[in-house]
Every structure is written in C-alpha cells, then in structure tokens.
C-alpha cells in the first residue's frame, strides 16, 4: 500500500508540475513535450486505479497520435508567443477570481463527499475483479452500449466528412497515372516515335 501511495504522489506531483510547465514554457514545442509528460503520468494514475486499458489507450492515442499531431501543428504554425502573451496581465485578475470560485466549489463538493458516508451506498458502478478491463469493455461495448458505440461512430464519420469538405479542393490540370486504364488498353498498345522537343 505504501508503494501505491508513493507512486500516486509521484505521478500526481509530476503531472501537476508538467501541466504548469505546459502553460509557462516559452517555446511552444517544449509545451507540447511537457504535455506528453502529463499524459504519461495520467496513464500512471489510471494504472493505480486498475484501469489498465484506459492507461494504455491514453498512451497510444494521446501520446502516439494527438500529441504528435499537436507537435506538427505547432511547428508548422509560425507562433509568436510574445504577441500571444500581450494582454495577459489584464486577464490574470479575472481568471484568478474565476479559478478561486471553482476551487471553493470543488472543495465544498469534495467536503460533502467525505462528510456523507451514505453517498457510498448509492454509487452504482462496481468494478469486477475476476476479468480484465479489456474483457469487461468487450463484453459491454457491443451489447449494452451498442447504441452509444454506433452513434460515436457516426460522430467520427461527420468529423471526417466535415474535414474533407472544408479542406479538399479539386485541382484542374493535375496529371495522374491511372494504372487500371493503362492496363485496360489491351491490344491497342503501340509504340510511337516522338520528335525531340515536340511531345505527342
């Protein structure tokens, strides 16, 4: 238990510290690298909660795909952080006040959780220990949650249609090699003498 406790504090402290670095680092590329560190530590926290599937998904999807995408976007955009930071001082007081209010709210909420032990009884989700996460998810996704699973697929489809529709442009005059058409020519293949500098 002590090791688990130590591991929790280790992951938690690194995650929070790295999250602070994400927003304070001067170089946007460094920010993304700090973000990757946050993801890794969050995955560690999930492992401590015995949610190994979520932990692995976090690493594969967020570190493997999302963060790399961020990195590309950040490197391609010519970001000037000095300009972005202008007016930061104006918003700090407002942001601090809102943050404080949220903090008080969360503290109140957390307090009520600790203070009312009967809330434990109404919690419906009970983790099963006899099968792995992946098996448990596999049992549920295509049965109880098939509606959500399919609908989530539609959401992704809409995202795909949208991104293609907003970025795809038909360029006239692009020469493409169409292998199928070339092969379908059959017996009509011929050899032509092309004059130099003349083309066909």
């Amino acid at each position: 238990m002590i090791i688990a406790g130590l591991a929790f504090y280790l992951f938690a402290i690194i995650a929070v510290a790295a999250a602070v670095m994400v927003i304070t680092a001067r170089n946007p590329v460094h920010s993304v690298l700090w973000l990757i560190l946050v993801f890794f530590n969050a995955a560690g926290l999930f492992l401590l909660l015995q949610a190994e599937f979520l932990a692995m998904t976090l690493v594969v999807v967020y570190v493997g795909a999302v963060a790399v995408l961020f990195l590309f976007v950040v490197m391609m955009l010519d970001l000037n952080t000095q300009v972005l930071r202008e007016g930061l001082a104006e918003y700090v007081p407002l942001g601090a006040v809102i943050g404080l209010i949220l903090l008080v709210e969360i503290a109140t909420v957390g307090g009520s959780w600790l203070l009312s032990p009967e809330m434990e009884q109404v919690r419906g989700a009970v983790a099963r220990t006899d099968i792995t996460n992946t098996q448990a998810l596999g049992n549920l996704i295509y049965t109880d949650y098939v509606y959500l699973f399919q609908a989530a697929g539609l959401v992704l489809l809409v995202a795909m249609i949208g991104s293609i529709m907003l970025t795809h442009r038909v360029r006239p005059g692009v020469k493409k090699q169409k292998v199928a058409e070339q092969l379908a020519r059959g017996r009509t293949v011929e050899v032509k003498k092309v004059p130099t500098r003349g083309g066909i």
């Binding site: 909420v109 009520s112 959780w113 919690r123 509606y147 539609l154 959401v155 809409v158």
Partner: protein
C-alpha cells in the same frame, strides 16, 4: 445472454443513419453534380422518418437500448417539429445552393446527420446518449456554418461556433461527470430515483454546469454571445436552419432533463432558469434595436424567443411545458416564413441582407411585404396572429404558478421587442422603394404561403395543436 434491443422504437433514427450513409455513397459515385439529387433524397428521408415517428405515436412510451433511448408522446411531438423544420429549411437551402451555383452534396448529408443528432437528443434517456446526440448535432452544425469556405465571414462564424461550442460541451461533460460521481448512475430514471432520496451538493454543482452547456446550445443569455456573429456570418439558409431545428431539439432536451431526472432539485434550478429566461428576454429585445443586418436582427429575435419559451420551464409544471411546446410550434412557422422572405431578398442574382434593402417592398412586391408584415406582427405578439397565442400560453402558466414578475417582465420586453419588428413594417410600407427584388423561387413561395396561412388563421382552429401539446406535456410527467 442479454435480450435484443427493441429496435422498432428507434426506427426513424435507424432509417436516417442508414440513409445518411447511402446518400453519401450516392453523392460520391453519381456522375456529375449530385447536389440536387442528394438534397431531395434527404428531404424524402426526413419525410419518411416523420411518417415512422407518427406511426410509433400510437404505442405507449417505451425505452430501448438498455434504457438509453426513450420514445413517448413528448418525443414524438418534438421529433415531428424537428423533422419538419429541418426538411423545410433544407428545401430552402437547395434553392439557394442552385442560385449561388454551389455544388456540394455533402451539405444535405450533414444536415441529415445533424437532424439525426437532434432526434437522438430528443429521445435521450441517459446522460451519455444525451451527450452523443448533442455532439453529433453540434459537429455537423460547425461544419455547415463554415461551409462557404471561401468567405471570410463564414469561416469565422464556423470557427467561433466551434471554439465556443467545444467549451460549452466541455463544461457540460464536466457537470455530467460530477453528477455521475455523486449519484453513481447516468440513467435518467435511476437518477430521478436516487435524487429523490439523496441530494448531494456535488449533483447541484454538476447540474449548474449541465445547464450552462444546454443554455449555450439554445443560445439563451448570458450564453448568447456567439449567436449574432454566427447567424450573420453563416450562409443565409444555414442561419435559417440554425434558428429552427437545433433550437427545438435543445429546448426539448432542456425540458426533459430538468423535469425528468432533476425534478426533485427544482428548488435549486428554478432560480437559475428564472435568471436565464429574464436575461434572454431583455437581451433579445434591447440588443436587436440597433441592428441594420436582418440576419443579426433574427439572431437577437431568436434569443428573445428562447427567453419566452423558457418561461414555461421556469414554471416547471405540465401547463408550463404545454406552453413551451405550443410556443415552439408557432415559432417554427413564423421563422420559416420570415427566412423564406430573407432568402428571397435578391436583386439581379445578388443576395441582400440589410434591413434598408426592404425599403418600399409594399410597392414593388405587395404580397411579400404583406406576408413579412404578418410574421413581424406575429413575432411581436400582436393579437390575431399566432405569435400572440404562443406568448399567451407561457405567460398564463407563469401567472397560474404565481410568478407574476416573470409574466410582467415578459410583457414589458415584448413591448420593447415590438419596436424593432414594427420598424421593419415601417421600412417596407413608408420608405421610398429602391429596386424590385427578383421573383422568388416556387419552393419559397409555397413555404411562405403555408407559414403565412398558419400564422394568420391559427386563431380559427387552435384545438389540434393545443390537444397534442397537452398530451405531449402529460407524457413527460407520467412517472
């Protein structure tokens, strides 16, 4: 072995999902321009889905997919309105696409998927299905808002809507996670059961976040900032679509969430709703006064209308919900008519959107001017028109519940609102005419006629709408 889900309850949604995929393939493989074909097929799909919804109306309420999806009289009523509004605005859009010579069949497919998302929202019986439906709808709407991608305004509208919409979704998700954490369930019926016994602070905090997210989706003040910019920037038929179907779906969802799982927390949310409704009415009426662009004006007008509709939710009983449902039905007719005219504001093939462009419309095309005057009088809530009755039912429900201040503020803001609606009538009838508009398309004229006749003659035969709305409201309070 788990039993199979009862798919017949979700037949309209299944049809639309499958049809959306088929239409996408038709669009891709059709030689030449498929915009028109896919568009009319999408309209057909919506009509068939509407028939399926009505066919299921006779059967009793039921849930399927492990209680995540519910069909009852309330859902049927809202779905018919959503499908009708979507189909009509899609018809208007097809005319506009042809006039602007934009060849993009994806537009109709996205509208179809957005409508599917709305149906899922209306039928949501679980926080997760609520969220997925909402995201399907919103994501499609973000894309349609910026779909005229060569126009800076349109892309700006899309981006603004996307960023603010994502923040709202994030807030809502945060609230849902809190509700789940403090109740252990996401199902609406179980939530209602749990919350009738324990009411933790965490659930209330979570509920506030969920309300903020939903208020953003119905564009109620103080979450309305995006509305004028998005309405102005988006292509006009998209604006028409935005002003109709998503609003109905979001309000229906709002009503179901508040009166279903959180019915026992009414003491907590009623005051928040009161503030949202009053602020929306005030922002809607005062914000519109200085507007020169008719799309911006319609944006403020819709914020105000949402405020009036939400009065029924503040009341929070059967009568209030009935008022909302009647209000929304009338709102659809008034708005589709008004947008049919805004889409017909073209001179020599060029679209116009300034209020001053309407000058002297009564001389150049008297019928169109008369129709717009009817819609404006109706929106202002002047008696013989339908709009008066919409306001009447929500105000009367507030009075019966003893919320006199709410009704008084509502009446006062509609007086202020009447100013800018009547200003349009004044511009049309008393200003010097400029140039005549092009002849409107047939579809626009038909929609205009139907909406005009409904708005003008609703007073003669109001009982069918009243009774259906009553039955729909009743089904919501059955359990």
């Amino acid at each position: 072995m788990t039993s199979l889900a009862n798919l017949s309850l979700a037949a309209p949604e299944l049809l639309m999902a499958a049809a959306g995929l088929v239409l996408l393939m038709i669009g891709v493989y059709q030689k030449g321009d498929a915009t028109r074909l896919v568009g009319w097929l999408a309209v057909l799909v919506m009509v068939v889905a509407g028939v399926l919804v009505l066919k299921g109306a006779g059967t009793d309420a039921g849930t399927t997919f492990k209680g995540m999806f519910v069909t009852d009289a309330f859902a049927v009523y809202a779905k018919v309105m959503v499908l009708g509004a979507s189909a009509l605005s899609l018809i208007l859009s097809l005319g506009w696409l042809a006039q602007e010579e934009i060849k993009k069949f994806e537009y109709s497919v996205l509208v179809l998927f957005a409508t599917l998302g709305m149906l899922m929202m209306v039928s949501a019986n679980d926080l997760m299905s609520l969220y997925i439906g909402l995201e399907l709808q919103s994501l499609a709407l973000y894309v349609v808002a910026s779909f005229k991608r060569d126009s800076v305004k349109s892309t700006e509208a899309g981006l603004k809507y996307f960023v603010l919409g994502s923040v709202a979704s994030g807030m809502m998700l945060y609230g849902m996670s809190m509700i789940y954490g403090f109740s252990g369930t996401t199902n609406f019926e179980v939530l209602a059961e749990v919350l009738s016994e324990h009411q933790a602070t965490g659930v209330v905090v979570g509920l506030v976040f969920v309300m903020a997210g939903l208020a953003f989706k119905v564009s109620a003040a103080p979450f309305h900032m995006w509305t004028p910019d998005v309405y102005e920037g988006a292509p006009t038929p998209v604006t028409a679509f935005f002003a109709l179907a998503p609003k109905i779906a979001a309000i229906a969802l709002f009503v179901r969430v508040m009166t279903g799982p959180f019915a026992d927390l009414i003491g907590a949310w009623q005051q928040v709703m009161w503030i949202i409704a009053v602020l929306s009415m005030i922002v809607g009426s005062f914000g519109a006064i200085g507007q020169q662009n008719i799309k911006r004006l319609m944006a403020y007008s819709s914020i105000g209308h949402m405020g009036y509709a939400l009065i029924g939710l503040v009341v929070g009983n059967e009568e209030g919900v009935q008022g909302i449902l009647i209000y929304l039905a009338i709102y659809v007719f008034m708005n589709i008519g008004a947008f049919a005219i805004i889409l017909s504001m073209r001179q020599k093939g060029r679209a116009l959107e300034g209020i001053s462009d309407l000058a002297g419309l009564s001389k150049t095309s008297p019928l169109m001017a008369a129709a717009l005057a009817i819609f404006m009088f109706s929106m202002a809530g002047i008696p013989p028109m339908a709009g008066f009755f919409g306001k009447f039912y929500v105000f009367i429900s507030a009075v019966h519940a003893g919320m006199y201040w709410l009704a008084v503020i509502g009446v006062l803001t509609s007086v202020v609102g009447a100013y800018y609606y009547l200003r349009i009538v004044k511009v049309m009838y008393f200003d010097e005419p400029t140039e005549a508009f092009d002849t409107p398309r047939l579809a626009n004229r038909v929609i205009l006629l139907v909406a005009g006749v409904f708005t003008l003659f609703y007073i003669v035969y109001p009982s069918p709408l009243l009774l259906t709305a009553q039955a729909a409201a009743k089904s919501l309070f059955a359990y």
